[in-house]
Amino acid sequence: MAHFKKKQAGTKQSIPTSAMPDVVFMLLIFFMVTTVLREVELQVQVNYADAENIEKIEQKRLVSYIYIGPERLSGNRLGETKVQIDDSLIDDMGSIRNIMYDKLMEEPRLIVSLRVDEDSEFGTITDVQQELRHAGTLRINYSTRREI
């Protein structure tokens, strides 16, 4: 009688982990590339309003932000409504047009995103919009959160 030996499967029972660092490094590089660290120190308080019919702005390079809201003072107090562009508060409304005009010269397709505190009154925004019209930056965006 011929004797048949059952063939043992010669595979190991462990998953090879040698490619793990590569996978992790790929994820790491993805996150490193997509990370945006906050570049602006907010000096005014901005609570966004809610809206349903909103669009995303895909091209981040084109966007320049204007923050409008009550000034943050020391000790969690809030002051007057102020306008902040980049890193500084704007005291003189008339200077906005020059700032925005310079930005427009650098980036002709500029979109100005107004990040306004929801409890503001519209007068300040009207003034800012008039300045933007003088500067020629006509494309604006009211920043809102998606209503849930």
Binding site: M20, L28, E55, K56, I57, E118, F122, T144, R145
Partner: protein, 180 residues
């Protein structure tokens, strides 16, 4: 005979801790990452008027919306609630000359928004949201009728997208603010 001991270490760097290092870095970036996409309501401001007279607009083609200091909404000088702004705009834009007091065609229809200096910002945004919603619904309806797909699924700048967009152009005008 004393044999010199050969150290039996291989000349390779141990790579087993590489994964751990990468994981630590990954966790750091996972924690600090904010993929910050700006969302909002887009508008185009009217340019500063120069001496050229703007083209005359017929009264029937203009829908005046006023949001006053108390946050009350007036459409063509009649009080309206936020809930029926959307329907009012849809009937106004999609009138196509049926009602002599409303627009002649969607292309002629202009929604003019006027605010007061003391208008609450969130009321204004809610109202603007309704206006955008009205246009979104009209475009959605047109897209369903013509192509059988919702407007949001059309690719931007494709022929179909442009066709629907030109059928219902968003003509939203920000009225000149009152002085003082």
């Amino acid at each position: 005979m004393l044999k010199k001991k050969r150290d039996k270490e291989s000349g390779e760097i141990d790579g087993s801790s590489l994964a751990d290092i990468a994981f630590l870095l990954l966790i750091f970036f996972l924690v600090v990452t904010t993929i910050d996409v700006d969302t909002g309501i887009g508008l185009v401001l009217p340019p500063i008027p120069d001496d050229i007279e703007p083209p005359p607009v017929r009264e029937r083609n203009l829908l005046n919306i006023l949001v006053n200091a108390q946050g009350m909404i007036l459409i063509d000088d009649e009080p309206a609630s936020l809930n029926n702004v959307r329907d009012r705009i849809k009937t106004f834009v999609d009138n196509n000359g049926a009602d002599p007091n409303l627009s002649e065609s969607p292309d002629d229809a202009i929604v003019s928004i006027k605010t007061d200096r003391r208008t609450p910002y969130n009321i204004y945004i809610d109202m603007l949201d309704e206006v955008m919603g009205a246009y979104a619904e009209l475009r959605h309806q047109a897209s369903m009728d013509r192509f059988g797909v919702p407007f949001t699924s059309l690719e931007q700048n494709s022929e179909q997208y442009d066709e629907i967009r030109d059928m219902y152009p968003k003509k939203i005008s920000i009225a000149e603010p009152d002085e003082g």
